[in-house]
Symmetry: C2
């Protein structure tokens, strides 16, 4: 009997590394993936749907959830609260689905501390020069912003060893296949099995 | 830059679980595998080639190797010494090849203790009833031997949680793909990368 519980996969890494692209490709490779949806107190933007882009909450609702320990991680940015509600994640895991949490490094550290069963993956650019080239290629940020992002990326790279896996996104297809393998392997971890001869 | 060092993969589990078949299939799935060759003091049998089936050693040579710490594990069975020489394994790993060590549980425990970088996989039968049916299907062992093997299997199953991964060999193709994923994931482990921002 194969284990049926899904794996919680944390994917973090510097902005511009291509997390969204790699994760999207893995979703095409396997049908058992779900992407975690965050909760936020910020107002919905035109076209955003509650429960799809975000779970939209009032500050009071959000703070009640914090008090109830309902978040895998949360943080405040420019006056708004953002967090990952544990409930939908655990429902998917129990249903045998793997849940991908694309998250910045501070949030990743919170989830790792709370969920030792999670698999953690740091997605790295092939080099800082390549990261700079990708950020400039977007054409959406000015020079000062790009330099600030590169400084942040240096600090994030120093945290990579705290993740179980490091995947270098040199080629999207290779990186996606590696992440796919990490998920498949994650489902085979012995932690999912009972002790003793009653394994089977 | 992707890590180029190979992974040492320990594969153990009860006799009759299909280790050889699964490992053989993984060798077809990926070109970067090598199978570890054991050393032994027993005499070569007709058709056996030194360095292919075994490294054939005199007892004196073998004991000198033990004294030099040249084995990843070794043991004595019915008057002959058997062991896994570390040298050829490490040469393959340095060349970027993954090395599969198909080994019984006592040897596996020795390798795990000496090589914390190894990935350990316990290959389990889908059930003891199925294992019994496979052992009887071989038609090579009498009833008493089969019952002894099943008793041994029960004891081995109790050790499964000491491995990093448990793969249930219900279907050879599925088990081989899971082992393949475990190897690919093993190459992405953060332990292979240096500390700090000089990751890249």
């Amino acid at each position: 009997m194969t284990n049926k519980k899904g794996v919680l996969v944390i994917v973090s890494g510097p902005a511009g590394t291509g997390k969204g692209t790699v994760i999207g490709r893995v979703g095409e490779l396997r049908g058992d993936l779900r992407y975690s949806v965050s909760a936020t107190t910020r107002a919905p933007r035109p076209g955003e749907t509650d429960g799809v882009n975000y779970y939209f909450k009032t500050r009071e609702e959000f703070e009640t959830m914090i008090g109830a320990g309902a978040f895998l991680e949360y943080a405040e940015y420019v006056g708004n609260l953002y967090g990952t509600p544990a409930g939908p994640v655990d429902e998917s895991l129990s249903a045998g689905l793997n849940v991908i949490l694309e998250i910045e490094v501070q949030g990743a550290a919170q989830v790792m501390a709370r969920r030792p069963d999670a698999v953690s993956v740091f997605l790295a650019p092939p080099s800082l020069a390549e990261l700079e080239s990708r950020l400039r290629g977007r054409g959406t940020e000015d020079d000062a912003t790009i330099r600030r992002r590169l400084d942040t990326a240096r600090g994030e790279l120093a945290l990579a060893k705290g993740y179980q896996y490091i995947i270098v996104n040199d080629d999207v297809e290779t990186a996606a296949r590696e992440l796919d393998a990490v998920i498949t392997a994650g489902r085979c971890r012995s932690m999912y099995y009972p002790e003793g001869e009653n394994l089977l």
